[in-house]
């Protein structure tokens, strides 16, 4: 690739400038971690964080795709919840259905996402409202079905969350990294990936260059539902049950890494790797603060400050460009 870029001397690796902020913040957290806690900087701890970060990773990955096409998905938390209840509820009585239900749950999530996209396109209602409505419907339905954590899965399914490759690397974390790698390559090297950026940035211009914009939007929302369901599967694996409230914090949580990673709400711009770094940033930060016995509430305050700080820098940089 570098060979044909005749304008400037080839450089093998260059940091995408939009990632600088999240990289710096991440570095700050890691350095602070090494300095402030002796339990932080161990392989064991990093692997634990990687495992625990996977749910947030899946949810943010889906959110990021929707944000890239210029939308937003507020139903992610509800899809996570509904997926756990659906999976654990069905499998409890029929353990043989475990494997089909893994696919079934992911399909369910994708279908919900597809509906979100379809209704948004068909009615022209802002996705914020459509997905909020979907969230309310799903959450209501789940709570009609059960108020308590319910259901169960075969023991072996816990391997997804707790299993370690070679006793070290968590399976769930690896799956998350793989998902990010696939989506990254897809966005960068496929026509459809390019179309996602085009549709997000300039829907009308995209349509007039022959891009089938509706299909792209549907794909992004479906992917968001799919990854939310994957986060749900992770929770079932971790807790063994379907929990009617587990997804509550996930909707807003899924937006944080997207913002920290430098994606523009409104669409069309941003690097998916920034989102992954955002996930690490949030996860490592909360891990470190836990070690320092900082209360959850203060953690929220700190997280809020970081978000506003990061975004104000992005906005400032955006103006200069």
């Amino acid at each position: 690739m570098a060979l044909t870029d005749t304008n400037r001397p080839a450089r093998r690796w260059r940091l995408d400038p939009s990632l600088i902020i999240v990289v710096l913040l991440l570095a700050a957290v890691v350095i602070a971690g090494f300095a402030l806690s002796d339990r932080f900087g161990t392989t064991r701890n990093f692997m634990n964080v990687l495992e625990q970060a996977s749910a947030l990773g899946f949810a943010s990955l889906g959110q990021a795709l929707v944000v890239l096409v210029g939308g937003i998905d507020l139903s992610i938390g509800a899809v996570v919840t509904a997926s756990t209840v659906l999976m654990a509820g069905v499998v409890e009585t029929n353990p043989a259905l475990m494997i089909p239900m893994i696919f079934g749950t992911l399909l369910f999530g994708a279908a919900i996402g597809f509906m979100n996209g379809y209704v948004t396109l068909r009615t022209g209602v802002h996705p914020l409202i459509v997905t909020l409505g979907t969230a309310s419907i799903l959450q209501g339905a789940v709570l009609i079905y059960t108020l308590q954590p319910t259901g169960g899965v075969p023991f072996w399914f816990e391997e997804f969350a707790y299993g370690r490759i070679g006793g070290v690397v968590p399976i769930s974390g690896v799956v998350m990294l793989l998902c990010f790698a696939l989506v990254w390559a897809f966005l960068k090297y496929s026509q459809t990936g390019r179309a996602i950026y085009a549709v997000g940035g300039s829907p009308e211009a995209a349509r007039l260059t022959g891009i089938r914009a509706s299909r792209i939007t549907l794909l992004a929302y479906s992917a968001s539902g799919f990854f939310a369901a994957l986060a749900g599967a992770y929770y079932v694996s971790r807790t063994g049950v379907g929990d009617p409230r587990v997804g509550d914090p996930m909707t807003l949580a899924s937006i944080t890494p997207v913002i920290l990673g430098g994606l523009i709400l409104g669409g069309g711009k941003g690097n998916i790797l920034g989102v992954l770094l955002g996930v690490f940033l949030i996860s490592l930060l909360s891990n470190l603060l836990n070690y320092m016995n900082v209360s959850t509430f203060i953690q929220w305050v700190i997280q809020g400050l970081i978000i506003i700080f990061a975004v104000s820098i992005y906005v400032h940089k955006g103006k200069k460009l």
């Binding site: 690739m1 060979l3 044909t4 870029d5 005749t6 304008n7 400037r8 390559a185 960068k188 090297y189 496929s190 026509q191 990936g193 390019r194 179309a195 950026y197 085009a198 997000g200 940035g201 300039s202 009308e204 211009a205 995209a206 349509r207 007039l208 260059t209 022959g210 891009i211 089938r212 523009i264 069309g268 711009k269 460009l321």
Partner: protein, 499 residues
């Protein structure tokens, strides 16, 4: 009243004003003229303290001034009315006029009675009458403009700048506006009037200053000028040098696009025409006549209710943009930033957007090949951009348009529809764009040019269709192609409303 000497204002990479001097007197209407990008707005903003010039001095009302903020200039008596009106639609006329400093009662609350009385009084100074309690959103645009001007009269305005005030109003309303503005001049206000429309300049201005490419060209009394000399000043060359030589398509050329009884409600009512290979066909008409909609309906980006379209000999009746492109029909839209370019993608991605499959191999997008293709277009159209991987949003209108030429000429070799091909483009680039269009026609592409700029239609096209209210009302060819004939067809039965 105001004098600017040797003003230079530099933006990253561009010298927007280069040692420009300008002077306007109290009690005159001074027109400021220039093509897009000539530096008119920059000059105005410098006067008003919105920009701080790198060099040069500003004298206002007899004193040298260095505005620290727009507010300071405003307090000194400079008031600017921008094209987009700065009104609050949900507030009343009186509230809008006194938005900055409403009259107060003894208790410090807003004194509505006094405010309404003073609003009526201020409007009557303009010779205008409006209900001060009416909501601004319920007024016509022309009345809204009066409210905007009344705002200027509340303070002690000595210099009033009007930035293209007639862009949004019709002929009769414009006359009313001119009348009001002349009243203010006679009261001794200094008025700077910016417009593209030359007829207006002759109707209203006392003196004219022309800018071109950020440089001062000259100032003349209006009586010492005629239309042609003014154009020559703005353009910097004679009209004959702008357009390439016309060439008729070969007499045996086949129609590449045939449109019969096309209807696309609400704007397109009945349109039929043929476009031949190698022809440059104009589509003229007033704004709102349905010209762009015809293009969208042919291209498949707007539904048709009726009609038959034949593209290169094959029926094309259930179109989508994708199919249009695949069959060699391209559409360069009027709104370059909204419907043309993808501002958040780089130049290379913009060029290849409709032809991405060409750059896709088994392992995905071949970015190297894409960049190479874009580099070819940069050379072919002499696009001023550092490289294919750079963004497009900061480029000049001309360069943006050339990128779109690169995109569409790669993709579509049969028919290209150009909607306002030179809008927002400076003269130098216009000449290049006309040459490109001519060259494409010579290569056998059928070209449809939609344009509101009559000189462009007249100078470029070998045949012109004129539309009015969704219907083609005339076709002119050869020596008949002139502004008067076209306007006659464009306004034929609606003389009352237009012209």
């Amino acid at each position: 009243m105001i004098r600017l000497d040797g003003i230079t204002k530099v933006f990253p990479g561009v010298k927007s004003l280069d040692k420009v001097s300008f002077e306007a007197r109290a009690g005159e209407i001074h027109a400021l003229l220039g093509e897009n990008g000539a530096g008119k707005s920059t000059l105005i903003k410098t006067m008003a303290g919105a920009y701080i010039p790198e060099e040069g001095s500003i004298h206002f009302d007899g004193q040298e001034r260095r505005w620290a903020s727009p507010k300071e200039a405003k307090d000194a008596g400079i008031h600017i009315i921008y094209q987009e009106l700065m009104l609050f639609p949900e507030l009343t006329v009186a509230e809008n006029i006194f938005i900055g400093d409403p009259p107060k009662t003894r208790f410090g609350t807003i004194d509505y009675k006094t405010m309404q009385a003073r609003a009526t009084e201020t409007l009557s100074r303009l010779g205008h009458a409006l209900d001060p309690r009416a909501l601004v959103k319920e007024l016509s645009v022309a009345d809204q403009q009066m409210v905007e001007i009344a705002k200027a009269l509340v303070g002690d305005t000595k210099l009033l700048v009007l930035d293209e005030p007639t862009a949004v109003i019709s002929g009769r309303e414009a006359e009313l506006l001119f009348d009001r503005v002349k009243r203010l001049r006679d009261e001794g206000v200094c008025i700077i009037y910016i417009s593209h429309r030359l007829e207006e300049i002759f109707a209203i201005a006392d003196r004219v200053t022309v800018l071109k490419d950020g440089q001062y060209v000259g100032t003349r009394d209006i009586g010492a000028l005629d239309r042609d000399r003014l154009v020559a000043m703005m353009v910097g060359r004679e009209l004959e040098d702008i357009f390439p030589r016309k060439k008729l398509p070969a007499p045996d050329a086949a129609p590449v696009l045939s449109v019969r009884d096309l209807r696309a409600p609400p704007r397109v009512k009945d349109v039929s025409f043929d476009l031949f290979a190698g022809e440059i066909l104009g589509l003229a008409g007033l704004v709102g006549a349905g010209r762009s909609e015809v293009a969208h309906a042919i291209f498949g980006s707007m539904p048709r209710s009726d009609g038959a379209v034949t593209l290169a000999g094959e029926a094309f009746n259930t179109p989508t943009p994708r199919q249009a492109i695949d069959r060699g029909l391209g559409f360069l839209t009027e709104d370059r930033k909204g419907e043309g370019l993808m501002l958040q993608l780089d130049m290379a991605a913009n060029v290849t957007a409709p032809t991405l499959p060409e750059f896709t191999t088994a392992s995905g997008l071949d970015r190297a090949q894409e960049v190479q293709a874009a580099a070819d277009e940069i050379r072919r159209f002499r696009i001023a951009i550092p490289g294919p991987k750079y963004g497009v949003s900061q480029l000049s209108g001309g360069n943006q348009q050339k990128i779109l030429f690169g995109r569409w000429t790669r993709a579509c070799r049969r028919v290209l529809i150009h909607d306002e091909p030179t809008r927002g483009v400076d003269v130098g680039a216009k000449v290049e764009i006309y040459e490109i269009i001519r060259k494409l026609a010579d290569e056998g592409v059928g070209i449809l040019v939609i344009s509101s700029e009559l000189p462009e239609v007249v100078g470029l096209c070998t045949r012109v269709l004129v539309m009015r209210e969704g219907v083609i009302t005339g076709e002119v060819t050869g020596a008949e192609i002139n502004e008067e004939t076209i306007m006659r067809h464009a306004t034929a039965a609606t003389r009352g409303a237009a012209a």
